[in-house]
Point group: C2
DNA sequence: CTCAATATTTGATGTTGTCAACTATCGTCC
DNA sequence: GGACGATAGTTGACAACATCAAATATTGAG
């Protein structure tokens, strides 16, 4: 990959973008009385699609023990529920409560508002960007 | 912006990418015995370009008091130095030590290695992505 | 000189994250 | 069926991160 200038150039720019946005999540989260990690959890759990805690740990790429506390706090706020797993009695599946689903919708609505710089791209570049990113994410 | 589907679509994908990469920084950081926040600090301070603490807080979009502890830990490891500001005696400027500069170079080298998915894009898409992102970041 | 504004630090507090150790359950192998 | 290793989740100890409010020191304007 070292001998592949366009890939490295594109990736460097993505790094810059990622780091420049790293600070925005805490701000956005605070407005909803959430932490960044809690936002990430709500983002991952879709309404009506329970997620085992272990899988959540993998999605967050963090230790399973970390998920316990994270879920404790979200559950104590009534945003998610622990449900015993159907087949395997070791697992607990996480489900959004109605309140949680509403907050998630609000969260996603706020996250989805693109920063002005995206709107300043030409229509063609916006479509190209969308196409390339979707290819990048699915592979 | 609500009535601008391509911008929103592109931004949604960037969000996904951002969240999917959120977990990688801790891993990369740990390999160098750093925390994600410390990586971000080293990334921001370029060799030979001292940065006032206040400006660092702005770049990290965090509280100034947070920077104190962050800098304390990096300084106690000999990676950066506090220097009294030239003009204003209230400010302290942060400078990389030689050790810090070496670690920063290593950090950036590791961060710059693109994930395989980027390499799977066609050469044309890689160039397009690079072009669009550079336009996005400069505006 | 006085006073509001700014840069940094300190202390209190809550969250995130890791690791090691523990319990409960599952699956497999004999 | 019973022993045993693997897996899901929890707990406790601990360090780092992050915020706020309060304190200090310095600056710059009036």
């Amino acid at each position: 990959m070292k001998g592949n200038p366009p890939a490295c150039g594109a990736w460097d720019l993505l790094i810059q973008l990622l780091l420049s946005q790293r600070g925005q999540l805490p701000v956005l989260a605070a407005a909803l009385e959430l932490s960044p990690a809690q936002c990430h959890v709500l983002y991952i759990i879709e309404p009506g699609r329970p997620v085992p805690m272990k899988q959540l740990a993998v999605s967050l790429s963090c230790d399973a023990s970390n998920v316990t506390g994270l879920v404790d706090r979200l559950e104590s706020r009534g945003l998610i529920r622990r449900q015993p797993g159907a087949a395997d009695r070791r697992v607990k599946e996480l489900e959004l409560t109605p309140t949680g689903a509403r907050l998630r919708a609000e969260l996603i609505a706020r996250m989805s508002t693109p920063p002005p710089a995206v709107g300043r791209l030409s229509a063609r570049d916006q479509r190209e960007l969308e196409r390339i990113l979707s290819r990048l994410l699915q592979s």
